[in-house]
């Protein structure tokens, strides 16, 4: 789609709702217009006015989610009820316009009020036209009412899933930016601490050699061979800085976890952080990366309200059980997953392993464990 087109659409229809609702809304209004024009019980002028009123109410409902939503949907529903009485009860079908719209309102009272108004319209229309308020129960209108009442909840669900996906993307981008920043400052620090010193040595020794060369050639030569050694060192250090494995701390990963779950309204509970033993840089990095993997999986898939991570030492085993109370995962899916594979590889690298216990709808527990003092 061209950019111009997007811009125009954006102005006449809320962009975030377009994907799900636009076509449905257009269809409803096309049919409403057709039905109105087909009926002859009202003068054309009245029909057009009522059509405009409904359209205006729909538009307000689309963009406003506060008290104006309530007023507009009330007027809109009432207008449709009037049309149903004067033209035909089939006009009640167009209440979909407002039941659909109420799925996008965030406030529960407005949503419930809207559903009550819709139900009430049916009762009023059928008591006027058939003298029996509940007559619609015996007609095809019952399933339509049912659909109108559940549509907002379906809409809500779709929206929630959609926005969760967006949140996840935002969170992941943030994490990536953060990691990049860390990496940059690590490189700067390492360069200063190693290469900076070596280059300073080269500078001083060269100056010394220049001064000595006329008076004491042997010493000047000595200094120059020192420069050579340092220069070799320098290139070695550059290589080291570039290839060095970045040390990731468990505590940093926990901080990232808190940030991540805050967005998902999940509680992260950390227990026994003090019993993290002294670990080598590689061990700690591998554990931290595995913890990150588990956190991200919980965040993406588990729908958990609570995630608990515990650190404990049992004899010379260091164990990290990570539990969630989410929907669980099928183990066949798990083994195929790339995340699980890389986690197992990481744990193998530090002579540890990971277990994964999960039951459907009964949460997931991952246990990371390593043998301490295994290097000797």
């Amino acid at each position: 789609m061209e950019e111009k087109g997007v811009g125009l659409m954006f102005r006449i229809y809320p962009k975030d709702q377009m994907k799900w609702f636009l076509f449905l809304d257009i269809s409803l209004f096309v049919f409403l217009f057709y039905n109105l024009m087909q009926s002859y019980s009202l003068p054309l002028f009245v029909k057009i006015s009522l059509y405009i009123i409904i359209f205006a109410c729909y538009y307000f409902v689309l963009f406003w989610k506060d008290w104006r939503f309530f007023i507009s949907s009330f007027i809109g529903i009432a207008t449709l009820a009037v049309l149903a009485v004067y033209i035909n009860e089939s006009m009640l079908l167009y209440l979909f316009i407002f039941s659909d719209a109420s799925g996008r309102v965030r406030s529960w009272p407005y949503l419930l009020a809207n559903l009550l108004m819709i139900t009430f319209s049916y009762i009023v229309v059928f008591s006027v036209t058939y003298n029996h308020p509940l007559y619609f129960i015996d007609t095809i209108y019952l399933p339509f009412l049912f659909l109108q009442l559940i549509l907002p909840f379906v809409m809500r669900y779709i929206k929630r899933v959609y926005s969760l996906e967006q949140d996840l993307e935002i969170a992941q981008n943030k994490l990536a930016v953060y990691a990049k920043e860390e990496e940059r400052s690590r490189i700067a620090r390492d360069l200063h601490d190693t290469l900076g010193h070596t280059l300073t040595v080269i500078k001083f020794k060269s100056e010394l050699a220049i001064r000595l060369i006329d008076q004491d050639q042997d010493r000047a030569k000595q200094e120059m061979s020192g420069v050579l050694v340092s220069a070799r060192n320098a290139s070695k250090q550059v290589r080291e800085v570039v290839t060095a494995l970045k040390h990731i701390k468990i505590s940093d990963e926990l901080t990232n976890g808190f940030k991540l779950f805050k967005g998902a309204l999940t509680n992260l509970i950390v227990m026994g952080e003090k019993s993290i033993p002294a670990l080598s840089e590689v061990q700690e990095t591998m554990l931290a990366l595995s913890i990150r993997e588990v956190f991200v999986n919980c965040y993406k898939h588990s729908q958990a309200d609570r995630v608990t991570i515990e650190f404990k030492q049992e004899e010379n085993m260091f164990k990290i059980p990570i539990k969630d109370d989410g929907i669980g995962i099928d183990s066949s899916k798990l083994i195929k997953g790339e995340g699980f594979y890389s986690m197992r590889e990481r744990m193998k690298l530090i002579k540890g392993h990971c277990e994964w216990i999960s039951k459907k709808n009964n949460g997931t527990t991952v246990i990371l464990q390593i043998l301490l003092n295994s290097e000797e």
Binding site: H192, L199, T200, F204, E223, S230
Partner: protein, 136 residues
Amino acid sequence: MIHVLIAEDQTILREALSSLLNLEDDISVAAKVGTGGEVLNFPYLNTVHLFLLDIEMPDGNGLEVAEKLKAINKDFKIALLTTFSRSGYIEKAMEIGVEGYLLKDEPIENITKAIRRIAAGEKVISSMLGRLFILA
């Protein structure tokens, strides 16, 4: 003759610097030490005309040592000699009131010139710092 004490934890660097300074006719290295503690334990503090201190040293970094020396005798002349990179060092050095803030990366001529000027009672801040300040 200006008597200089050099405190620098890297041996190669310390030796090269002291050789360079000893080549000057009017400068002599009175002592070379590798930690902050050794500076304070030097028995002839009063014979030193200028303390040339590295900042990043074990057992008392250059800034701490400078502060303690100033507490012993505020007329001690101190110059910090560093690779400059950590922010906040210069501010801290100015606060302590050191006489010089020099960079290891500048030409040795600048360092010896600065040593002479500080010994004569001036304050010297490396001219390279102005540039670095802007860059930072």
